[in-house]
Every structure is written in C-alpha cells, then in structure tokens.
C-alpha cells in the first residue's frame, strides 16, 4: 500500500511540476537576457537572405535583423544562435518557444498574424511572387504557362497564390510540391517542372546558384503581395517593440545617412533626431528597457538597411536585386519607418 501511495504522490508531483513549467510565461526579453544569446529562427539556406557562408557564419538581410536585435539587447551582434527552420515548421517552432523570434522571409498575412498566435512587427523586404522559366522555352509572360508543370515549396502562401492565379486566368497546371528551396532547385534544373515559382527574391537567389544563371529568366508578372518581415509570439508587446524598433532603427539610419562607417562622427551631429537615435539624448533606450546606445550598437555593428541590402542582395552581389519597392519612401520605394521621437 505504501508503494502505491508513494507512486501516487510522485505522480502528482511530476504532474504539478510539469504543469508549472508549461504554465510559466516570463517575458521573452528577460529570458533572452538570462540565456545570454538570442535564439533566432532562420531559413535553412536562402542565399542573400539567410544562409551560412563558406566559413559557416550566417549572413543575409534576414540574418541582419537577428543581429540587430542581439546588438540592441546585448550590445553584441554576434550573440545569436540560428535555428534553421523549414517553411513548414517555422510557426510551430516559434509558438513552442524554441526560438525568440522568426526572421526568415515570411509573408505577413492576416491569418498568420491573428490565427496562429503570432505578431508580425514590420517588413524588411517587400516581395511578390514571380515565375522563373528556362529561356529556351521561349516564354515571355506568365499568361503563356497553360499546362505547365510548376515546382512549388509546400506550406507557403505561394501555393495558394499559384492556385488562384491559374484559376483566375482559366489555365491548368501540374503542381510538383517540394519541401525545401534546394529540392526545388534540383527538381527545376532536372526538368521535372517547367516553372519554378516562389517570391521573386527567392528566384533571384536560386538563379544565382545555377551553373548558367543567364539561361533562366524571371517573368515580369508579380502575382501577389508578399511583405516579408520578422515575427514574434503574440502577447509579449514589450519584446515585439524591441524587435520592431531594431528593424526601424536600421531604416531610420539609412534615412538619416548614418552608416557603420560614420556612426561615431554622427554622434556630434546637430540633427536632433540623429542625437536621439544614437542615444546622445538619453531616455529613449529606457522606454524599451534597453541601454541608451542600443541603436548606436545596431548601426555600428550591423549597419543601416541600405548597407545590409547592398552587401547581401544588391546589384553588386550575385543575387543582383534592384532596390525597387524596397527603396526609402523618399527615393521612390515604400520603405517607411515611423519617426524616432
């Protein structure tokens, strides 16, 4: 009888403890500080956006958002652990608390924002779904793709846009679902499909890795809005604010002409917004629960948005993407951050 009793008690204890663990919801900011590093969900490998380089160091404009947050929180942009996620598991990984934030070319949509318990905090790349075909098919418009086989990554908004686009134009297609970007590349180059469709940025990134990039063409039609941005868990506004303003600081940095090269000189600028941003005028860091030099750390270690863009995906990189929509609002794009005051 005592055995049963002790069994019962230990069972109750285990249950109680596990309930306590599952029920505890400390603020993400505290959790990150305690851990000493940021757990950031990234792509499994998308050149220019989030992929490890030859030395195994993660690089890309999505990765730079993670680095900016680490710079803001720790004053050290390298204190990030990257968790590669497939398009399928990314939300579950974030919901379960395995990562602190997701920065992985993820489209901000209503159902994801509302129904999945996520919070999108901004847009770091305005994208749209495009189609890539081999040049020797002689296709010049997506409207000529009736009957084609289309390679598509599963679990993405592109899948639904594709269905809508072909339906709306009365065309048929064969969908060839693949799991990752690299599998899509393999299937497309082997000729399993005529068309590879994903966000145009992804097409450029893939094309850069093909043996003969010039043999493939991205068709002019952009069939969807794909605002890509970082996301955090719903319900922790303090943490969402930190991630949102880390991204905004990079955009405002470009707007004010602050680069990683001139950030120290800019500290003696006479523009009050520059002084507020760089923490010379104190008080703005405390509002976020950060040190006053948080934005200074971002701009000196990661650089402003333009630097990040030019370094990873701009015209001088193999990816070769023009700024286009992603130029600042004053340069003809739609990139716009709320004022820093």
């Amino acid at each position: 009888m005592t055995k049963i009793k002790s069994l019962f008690i230990s069972l109750l204890l285990t249950l109680g403890v596990s309930t306590a663990i599952a029920g505890s919801h400390g603020s993400t900011h505290d959790l990150v500080k305690e851990r000493g590093k940021l757990m950031c969900g990234s792509n499994t490998g998308l050149a220019g956006f989030g992929a490890p380089n030859d030395a195994g160091v993660w690089e890309g404009i999505d990765v730079d958002v993670c680095r900016a947050v680490a710079a803001a929180v720790f004053g050290d942009a390298s204190k990030v652990e990257y968790v590669p996620t497939t398009s399928k598991v990314r939300f579950t990984v974030l919901q379960s608390g395995e990562i602190d934030m997701l920065s992985r070319n993820t489209t901000w949509t209503l159902s994801r924002d509302v129904d999945l318990g996520l919070e999108f905090v901004g847009v770091n790349y305005y994208d749209g779904q495009g189609f890539m075909v081999s040049k020797d098919l002689g296709v010049s418009s997506a409207m000529e793709l009736d009957g084609a086989s289309v390679c598509i990554q599963v679990g993405t908004t592109t899948e639904m846009n594709l269905a809508d686009f072909f339906k709306a134009n009365g065309m048929s297609y064969e969908s060839v679902p693949v799991e990752t970007n690299s599998e899509a590349d393999a299937a497309y180059t082997a000729g399993r499909c005529d068309v590879y469709t994903t966000d145009a940025s992804g097409l450029y990134a893939s094309r850069a890795g093909y043996p003969d990039p010039s043999a493939h063409v991205v068709l002019p039609e952009i069939v969807s809005k794909e605002p890509l941005g970082p996301a955090v868990r719903h319900g922790d506004s303090e943490w969402a604010d930190i991630v949102r303003w880390s991204l905004n600081a990079m955009i405002i940095g470009e707007e004010l002409g602050i680069t990683s090269g001139n950030v120290d000189e800019m500290k003696s600028s006479n523009n009050p917004e520059v002084l507020r941003l760089l923490g010379v005028d104190a008080g703005y860091g405390a509002m976020l629960g950060l040190s006053d030099d948080w934005a200074y750390n971002i701009l000196s270690q990661v650089g402003n948005y333009s630097e990040s863009f030019e370094k990873h995906i701009g015209p001088n990189t193999p990816i070769n993407i023009q700024r286009g929509l992603n130029a600042l609002y004053k340069d003809g794009g739609i990139l716009y951050a709320p004022p820093f005051r």
Binding site: K88, F91, E159, R192
Partner: protein
C-alpha cells in the same frame, strides 16, 4: 460490514489486484486528462485557435496526384480523403509488388543454382541494410534523370517514358462495355463451379482433369468473345505532346514510382527471408515422403510444402505489410501527395491546427494498420491446422 470490505480489498488477492488495476487505469486517465487540459489552456493563452471547423474551409492548394477530383476550392476534408486514397494506393500496390518479389526471391535463395542463389543473397543483404528513405530518394533521383519531356522515349505506340512520369493511353469505356465486364465475372464464377465438380469427380474416379487449363481458357476467352460481340466497346485516348506537357491519356508520376520501387524493393527483401524460413521450416521428411509417393516436384511444392510453410510465413508477413504501410509516410521526402504530405503537411501549415490534424492522421494510420492486421489474422486462421492437431 464495512471493515469486511476493506479487509477483503486489502487481503484477498483477487480483489486487491482488481483495486490496483482500477487505480492504475484511473491515474492514467487522469494523466491524459490533465495533459489535454494543459494543452488546451496553453493554446488559448497563446491566442492559437483550435477546433475542427477548419475542415470545411476551402483548401486553397492543388494536388496533382489524386484518385478523386480535387481543386483548390475544395475543402480540407476533401484534401484529407485525397491524401488517404493516395496512402492506400501506395500501400496496396506496394504490398502486392513486395509479396510477389519477396516470394520469388525467397524461392530463388533456396535454388540449387549458385549464381541465382547468390544474386538473391546480395540483393537481400543490400536492401535490408540500407535505410528505406535513402532507397526511395535514390530511385526518385534516377527517375528524375530520365529524358526530359521534349525528348520523351516512346516505348510502344502511345507509351512515353519521361522524367515527368510514364504516360500511357487511357481507356474510354463505351456503351456495352459493362456486358463484357459482367461476362468476365460470370466466367470466374463458372470456373469455381467447374473446379468443384471436376474435383469431386476426381475423388470418385481417380481420373485427373486439366482444371487449370480449362478454367484459364474460360476466364480469358469469354470476355474477349463478348468484346467482339458487343462491337469492341473500348477505345483508347493516346497522350500527345502539346505545349509544355502531354495532353490526354494517363500518367504515373515519378513520385509514385519512386515510392513504389523504394517501398516494395525494401520490403520484398524482408518478405523473401520470411518465405525462405517458412519453406525451410517444413521438415525434410515431408518432402522425401511425398517424393516417395511419386509426386512430381511442382506438386510436392504446391500440395505439401507451401501449405505448411504458409503457417510460418503469414504472421511475420503481416508485420511487413504494416511496416510498408507506415513507411509510405516517407512520401513527404519526394513530394508524393500522401496523407502526411498533403493533409498532414500543407493543410497543417495553412491552418496551423497541428494537434487536430496530427491526431486525425495518427488515428487514420492506426485504423489502416488494425484493418490490415484483422484481415491477415482471418487469413492466418484459415491456413492453420484444422481439427485437434
């Protein structure tokens, strides 16, 4: 009176074990209940919606490999059935092919021909010891390196082999074809009847009749006869290369073939070992005795060895069928649109209902497996010793 019950519960062995078992079951139920509660609470706290209402929302994606019509406007529930049918299709085709290959290889491994025996040996040892996922990916990659669509190989008239699948003509049934079908069914029933009568005669008179040849001729020629009587009510739609792809006809996709080859070649290796052990398990004396009675070699096999070997073969064969069915969920690796890939992957991602969908998928696999076990157990009973041996 009360103390009597308490004493009985503690000191009577039967009552005591009953009490303990009840307690354990109760605690287990409580445990499950608490986990479910906690999960529901956590989901709600994180603002994640739950429930099965998503099943009636339109899926929004297309599935190319399907047995029933499906468009992006159909519901997630229909996507579930499309996936389920694809899973069943690969499981049935895979089990069928694996059984045939397994029996062949199993018999060859016992053959007296040194070369055949050792080829079978190498095949079994290689496939058995390499993970099935790698084999599936290997066969799929080979299929992807078949000629591209524009350089399709025409094997026979209207049969094309490409890396987008195997295109074949599809049958178009016209009026009167159902009569051909019925004649086929009637022929089968008649052949069963004929077999019974001739067997009876054989037992009475001892005279042997060529039952097999009579019945084969009956089953093959009756439908052909009716086919011509009805004015050939069958036409074929041949695939034609038009634009990007072949139009018309039927197609077997490389994703399906990759799965089929991977699963059946892998499982056949295990089945062949089961078959071999079953045949070896029949004692040598049985064979020698039947040969001494003057039975020919193929009759020894058919009448004496195989019926006894089946008793040993069926139970492990069942578990191989279950393995193959469960392994079909690996289709996700090469984009075969089975239950896990379509409903359990894409629908899950579009709706975010991970717990609900995974529960449904798991229960489905459980049901399929239990059904296979049930039928195999019934079959197993039918081949076991009858009477009180």
């Amino acid at each position: 009176m009360e103390s009597y019950f308490v004493r009985k519960l503690i000191f009577d062995e039967k009552s005591r074990s009953l009490l303990i078992q009840t307690l354990v079951i109760g605690l287990f139920a409580l445990f499950i209940y608490l986990i479910a509660q906690q999960t529901a609470y956590n989901l709600e706290k994180r603002g994640i919606s739950s429930g099965f209402d998503f099943l009636n929302i339109s899926a929004g994606y297309d599935i190319s490999i399907r047995l029933i019509p499906f468009t992006s406007e159909d519901t997630h529930l229909r996507a579930y059935f499309v996936g389920l049918l694809n899973t069943l299709m690969i499981a049935v085709c895979g089990c069928f092919l694996a059984t045939i290959m397994g029996f062949l290889v199993g018999v060859i491994r016992l053959s007296s021909n040194w070369l055949f025996r050792n080829i079978a040996y190498v095949y079994v040892e290689f496939t058995r010891n390499v993970p099935v996922l790698l084999q599936i990916i290997l066969y799929y990659s080979i299929l992807l390196h078949l000629p591209k669509i524009k350089q399709a190989i025409e094997i026979f008239d209207g049969f094309f082999l490409t890396n987008r699948g195997f295109f074949t003509p599809s049958p178009i049934f016209k009026d009167g074809f159902s009569i051909v079908l019925w004649s086929f069914i009637v022929a089968i029933l008649a052949s069963i009847f004929i077999k019974r009568i001739l067997k009876k005669k054989q037992e009475q008179t001892g005279k042997q009749y060529p039952i097999f040849y009579i019945n084969s001729a009956l089953i093959i020629f009756t439908p052909i006869l009716f086919y011509y009587i009805m004015g050939r009510p069958l036409e074929f739609d041949t695939p034609v290369l038009k634009g990007f792809n072949f139009k018309g006809g039927m197609v077997i996709r490389p994703e399906f073939l990759g799965m089929l080859f991977g699963l059946s070649i892998y499982t056949a290796a295990f089945i062949s070992e089961t078959v071999r052990s079953g045949i070896i398990a029949v004692s040598k004396g049985q064979r020698e005795a039947s040969q001494a009675l003057g039975l020919k070699n193929n009759l020894v096999m058919r009448l004496i060895v195989i019926p006894q070997a089946l008793r040993v073969i069926i139970p492990p064969l069942t578990s191989q069928y279950l393995n193959l069915t469960k392994n079909s969920s690996l289709g996700i690796a090469i984009g075969y649109a089975d239950l896990v890939h379509g409903f359990g992957g894409i629908s899950l991602n579009q709706t975010g209902r991970a717990i609900e969908i995974m529960l449904m998928v798991m229960l489905t696999y459980l049901t399929i497996s239990l059904t296979i076990s049930l039928f195999m157990n019934i079959y197993n009973k039918s081949v076991q010793f009858k009477g009180n041996a």
